[in-house]
Point group: C2
Chain length 445, copies 2
């Protein structure tokens, strides 16, 4: 069969009572003696095929087409009796009576996994080892359709708000934040690094376009092996010029999140919601609340009945704060502000007393979704701050020069797309929100 | 001054006769004794400011504000006399009579370059060394607004055609094409590589979503130092399932290019066209023409009056073919097909006689814009082809397994965004189409 006249499953409702050509994967199969029911999956949906002894089957491997074999079928599109409608599928009220079936690529009978049922019961490592297969399950598909929607709404909001989309280099001459946790690359015999964030470059671009954003890979050589860390993830970055302080950045980020929430609630398809079963976002009627780090630690100590002098939030602390934000503000999001200078990078703007930074983290259901701040835009303050952090301004010549070229007060944020998806959908592990996750132990597939 | 009530320059036409607050960079300055004319640039445009002895100037460095200093100004928006209208600016019919001027960040008088005029006369190396400054010129800005538009039209077309946007890993366990020219990364003590293309991963994703695309960085450790090579560029990739052959891929790519062309001709702003002065695309009335490699080499030999048995196209050959496509087909684009198996990667589908691949290059005004092909989807053919290319299928286990999970006939393409921009705008060097270009010699800024 030729694919020229092939239609996609999503279009079958227009062809009821007519013969069409479909092609896709054999997702499920139920043999009942003379008749077999095959759920055909293509890039647009799933449709039940009725294969009988009258169906003409062709193809080189016509006897070995197991699940996930690619087949093309010609037949009549029909409505199913009302009591047999499958409510889980968009085209669950239709089926095809197959006249001809061609086996295009047979898998034999030996797939390592049956992805059509109980994907949730498969062990995470197995899910990831067989990623090209397991991603085909409707549930995994729905996760990445969801994540694509977060990204496109993010882009749509920012473009609509005068931001320019940029691509900054991932190969950089020095470790962005001056810290460890960078991957070293052999670049024609010399050492360069993979960007931990587009930080310096997005700041440079504020001087050009005033408001910029980037969606791109971010590399972190952090040795953590947890359910919330990836060593390569998709960063959602933005940087804004002519702000008053970090609250302008937080305000813009809040607008952006509310836009994404509205788009997702609007547009995620019914059947995806059935498959994913995720809770709607809780956003407070007023503004997303904020709390200083100092207050946050007090709150955590009180709830946990302890008295620790924590310097920063840990995983457990973030969880407690997530619950606190739910109870007190009915909010899935919480800003934490006023991080001390000692635990934040050198380029964050200090408060007037020099103790804190004009920075924030944003927690989403008790997990850090991202971080942001006003940046230092005065070259003298910047070099003196670098020295305080034990860095040599000469190692960051191009960055330091930027501020001699005239920079306005500015700030921005960096979020992780995979964390956004994981927390929104309530996934157990961030690896499920990455197509081909990279962690300390895994670079395959 | 506070930025809260600041408006952007693009909005000044709504405020004629009223007092507003603007902020931006001092792009140009002309002193005429008691009165100075300052062109203020912000992220949205340029407006002339009239600064007189009556203007109250404040700010820490109020005497040292040279070009590119950040200033904020309060004053009256007025129409300029008809004969003084500046036709090169969108708001060239307006100016502001400045009452108050605050110097927010002064540059002093010592900028290394004047970017407001004759940017074309600045040497390429200087343009690139001072990228955070030179990108601010209206011409450089316009290049990247143009490039952003190519990208967004590319995305828009594919999303509208049922493609899913994906992000595949840039850290990969083995060299994609089995060749040299990959950068090695130290990944927690073991050697991994930077992806030369999303090739294997986009193929895996055809099994999931049928049609996918990716916009993301691509890394090539090619030692070429030319006006058309970058070692990191932005790839525009796509992959499509259920094709008949490479001509289906070429057909979809042509649709995509025609869509982008229509969007750009429609939407690139008047004033950007004045600044960039680029020729409109020439697309033939019928289909974009194609020519086999063998025929192409004959054409080149004939035009050049020589008789060489070239195996592939070189830079000069591509240029000659570009001219040939203009003359014969009135087309900026030309497909070259039927590349021999020996010079193409192992995963490209061979023709029935086994001599050629079902592949193509697409030339844009005499330069390779990208490449594409139908891929092998049969696991046995694939492993035997790998062996013919001297590769061990065991080194590509996850990729080989993919085809045991059932794959349809499929194919796709990879283009370079920077080449698209360079050729369309007629830029001399591809580095001008990359914000922060990376080449054999350059990783700064």
């Amino acid at each position: 069969m030729d694919f020229e006249n092939r239609i996609q499953i999503k279009d079958t409702p227009k062809w009821v009572g007519k013969e069409v050509l479909l092609a896709g994967w054999a997702y499920r199969k139920r043999d009942h003696g003379k008749v077999s029911f095959v759920d055909l999956r293509d890039g647009s949906g799933v449709l039940q095929l009725v294969v009988t002894s009258g169906t003409k089957i062709t193809g080189l491997e016509k006897n070995g087409w197991g699940l996930e074999s690619v087949i093309s079928v010609k037949g009549l599109v029909k409505e199913r009796p009302a009591k047999l409608v499958n409510p889980e599928l968009k085209t669950g009220n239709l089926e095809m009576e197959v006249k001809e079936l061609e086996v295009v690529s047979a898998t034999g009978e030996a797939l390592p996994l049956d992805i059509s049922k109980d994907i949730d019961k498969i062990h995470l490592d197995t899910l990831l080892n067989y990623r090209p297969l397991t991603l085909r399950s409707l549930k995994m598909q729905a996760i990445f359709k969801f994540s694509e929607k977060i990204e496109s709404s993010y882009r749509e909001f920012l473009k609509g708000d005068g931001f320019t989309e940029i691509h900054t280099p991932k190969i950089i001459p020095s470790a962005t934040e001056g810290g460890a946790n960078v991957f070293r690359v052999d670049y024609f015999g010399r050492d360069v690094f993979l960007a931990q964030s587009p930080q310096f470059y997005k700041q440079m671009m504020v001087g050009v376009f005033e408001r910029v954003f980037e969606v791109g890979p971010v590399f972190r050589a952090e040795p953590h092996y947890t359910s919330r860390h990836l060593n390569e993830f998709t960063g959602l970055d933005a940087e804004i010029g002519f702000i008053r302080d970090e609250f302008d950045v937080m305000g813009k980020l809040e607008e952006c999140i509310r836009y994404i929430a509205a788009q997702i609630e609007d547009e995620v398809k019914e059947e995806d919601r059935k498959i994913l079963d995720f809770p709607s976002l809780r956003l407070p009627k007023g503004k997303i609340p904020y709390i200083t780090l100092k207050e946050a630690i007090k709150v955590i100590n009180k709830i946990k009945g302890r008295d620790e002098e924590a310097l920063d939030l840990d995983t457990e602390g973030e969880k407690v704060l997530g619950q606190y934000a739910q109870n007190k503000f009915k909010s899935d999001f919480l800003f934490v502000t006023e991080y001390p200078v000692s635990i934040r990078p050198f380029y964050q703007m200090p408060t007037d007393d020099g103790k804190f930074t004009k920075s924030f983290d944003i927690l989403f259901r008790g997990m850090e979704l991202g971080t942001g701040a006003q940046r230092i835009h005065n070259p003298k303050m910047l070099t003196s701050n670098m020295q305080k952090h034990g860095l040599n301004p000469k190692d960051f010549k191009d960055y330091v020069n930027l501020f001699k070229f005239g920079m306005p007060p500015h700030g921005g944020w960096g979020l992780g797309l995979e964390r956004f998806t994981k927390q929104w959908l309530g996934l157990d592990n961030i690896r499920l929100a990455s197509l081909f996750p990279r962690d300390v132990k895994r670079v395959n597939p």
